[in-house]
């Protein structure tokens, strides 16, 4: 699929994202729309616009689109189609998944166990649960960002209503020990919600979950489509007023064209996932190797490639702030993100880097979209040392 991603928002032949010699390296925020998603979206806007709950011909066509999409996602997740619903985002999937599990298990207790490095949507949901009278344990991580599975298991109690763990960390790419935590949760009779937003379509879905959430725009689908998969044993109960759509698990009229596009993209990227992961992993190794040779740059995450996502690498540059790095790399044509927050509006360091206990400022996250060319990575690596040195020179911290 190497050239497939050349079908960008500017039309066929135009590179995705930035012009010239640059490249888009922020797939962990959102992946450019996959060409298969784009084609499916356009087709489904024409034949999937009607209300899929109605009985006439146009409605049946929309229903067929929706059913087919649900079957594709269910097959990738190895569940029944009835277990899959499509909320409006990954965040909404998390909010519904967490609140619904807590509600369904309220008789058992109100204790929630999750990790300190989850997506903010999970941590905010946990805070809301605590504010409403529930109790929360946040399990810590090691310096590579990996959750301590023994501590997680030890935090499970008879009154634990839900355990919640990401499949992989969104800031440093560390794969979490989902299988070990799932085994502990199963033994304790606690449902496990896995936030697979960063890994679905990249690496195999870990088994053992009761509830799984994901977000289509992370795998090349359009925005506005989340995934909430609920196995029966989760005893999930909707935290919302009664709704007729999506089995009562997600509110409102389904976005059929986008759901169809999302599923088509998922099928496409899943078919390609192993080969593309291997290819991108080699590029990430190259970035890690070169970044580590830049003076006073610390590369984060596990050194073992088998312990992290294949397409994501994060490093911190001593004495620099992340925002300047992002701006300067943008001027050079490269779109990256920074998890650090030395800005006026957010005075806390990244909660992930804080939990890892590593250098928090001057942070750069590079996450490669599918189809990233080796040449684009090499061009990035050619400018990176100069950008870092120039910024240090301008800040008067060179040689400190």
């Amino acid at each position: 699929m190497g050239s497939a991603l050349d079908l960008g928002p500017n039309g066929p032949g135009e590179p995705v994202g930035t012009p010239g010699n640059g490249a888009y390296f922020d797939a962990a925020s959102t992946e450019p729309l996959h060409p298969v998603a784009r084609a499916t979206l356009l087709a489904a806007l024409d034949d999937g616009w009607a209300d899929p709950a109605r009985l006439y011909r146009d409605a049946r066509r929309a229903r067929m689109r929706l059913d087919a999409a649900r079957e594709i996602v269910a097959e990738v997740l190895a569940v029944g189609p009835a277990d899959v619903s499509f909320p409006a985002s990954g965040t909404q999937a998390l909010q519904l998944g967490i609140a619904g599990c807590l509600k369904g298990r309220a008789r058992v207790g109100s204790h929630l166990v999750t990790s300190a490095v989850e997506h903010s949507a999970v941590l905010h949901a946990a805070a809301a649960h605590e504010a409403a009278g529930g109790s929360v344990d946040l399990v810590g991580v090691d310096r590579a960002g990996r959750v301590d599975s023994a501590a997680f298991a030890g935090a499970l109690r008879p009154d634990t209503a839900l355990a919640c763990l990401q499949s992989a960390n969104h800031e440093v790419g560390t794969l979490q020990p989902v299988d070990e935590v799932a085994a502990a949760a199963t033994a304790a009779g606690v449902p496990l919600l896995v936030d697979a937003a960063q890994s679905l379509g990249r690496v195999p879905v870990p088994p053992g979950w009761s509830v799984l959430t994901a977000s289509a725009h992370k795998w090349g689908g359009p925005p506005g489509v989340g995934v909430l998969a609920v196995r029966r044993e989760a005893r999930w109960r909707s935290p919302l007023p009664l709704g007729e759509r999506e089995g009562g698990r997600a509110p409102g009229f389904e976005n059929v064209p986008s759901i169809a596009a999302a599923a088509a993209a998922l099928a496409a990227v899943t078919a390609d996932a192993a080969a593309e992961a291997a290819r991108l992993a080699a590029l990430v190794e190259r970035i890690r190797d070169v970044a580590a040779t830049v003076p006073d740059v610390v590369v984060h995450g596990p050194s073992d490639p088998g312990q992290r996502l294949p397409h994501l690498v994060t490093f911190s540059c001593l004495y620099l702030d992340g925002e300047s790095l992002v701006r300067e790399l943008d001027r050079a044509g490269f779109a990256v993100n920074s998890g650090s927050s030395c800005t006026a509006d957010t005075l806390r360091p990244s909660h992930v880097l804080e939990a890892m206990g590593v250098l928090s400022h001057g942070n750069v996250r590079v996450s490669l979209p599918r189809g990233t060319a080796q040449g684009a990575v090499e061009r990035f690596l050619a400018v990176l040392p100069t950008v870092v040195a120039d910024l240090r020179g301008a800040a008067g911290v060179a040689g400190l």
């Binding site: 001593l318 702030d321 650090s340 030395c342 804080e354 250098l359 928090s360 400022h361 800040a395 400190l400």
Partner: protein
């Protein structure tokens, strides 16, 4: 380690965001003799991560932190030859 150690030099970085506290530390660690202690006074939460991380990168000895009425003091002992 008993805190607070007897700091030879205190760097007041209150109100300054990361990475300013460790830049000040890097600029002034040489102002004390090996074995002496520099205190970095900061109200930036990131200093709790960055001061120990800087010490590790530079081979300096991080001694610990202590709450102050305003901010936190982070103590670093200058290491001979580092």
């Amino acid at each position: 380690m008993n805190l607070p150690p007897d700091a030879r030099l205190t760097l007041d970085t209150l109100g300054r965001r990361c990475p300013a506290p460790i830049i000040e530390l890097a600029r002034h660690i040489g102002d004390v003799e090996p074995g002496e202690v520099v205190a970095v006074l900061s109200d930036d939460a990131a200093a709790a991560l960055d001061v120990p991380a800087w010490c590790e990168l530079r081979g300096q000895q991080y001694l610990g932190a202590e709450q102050r009425p305003v901010g936190t003091a982070y103590f670093v002992r200058r290491v001979q030859g580092a």
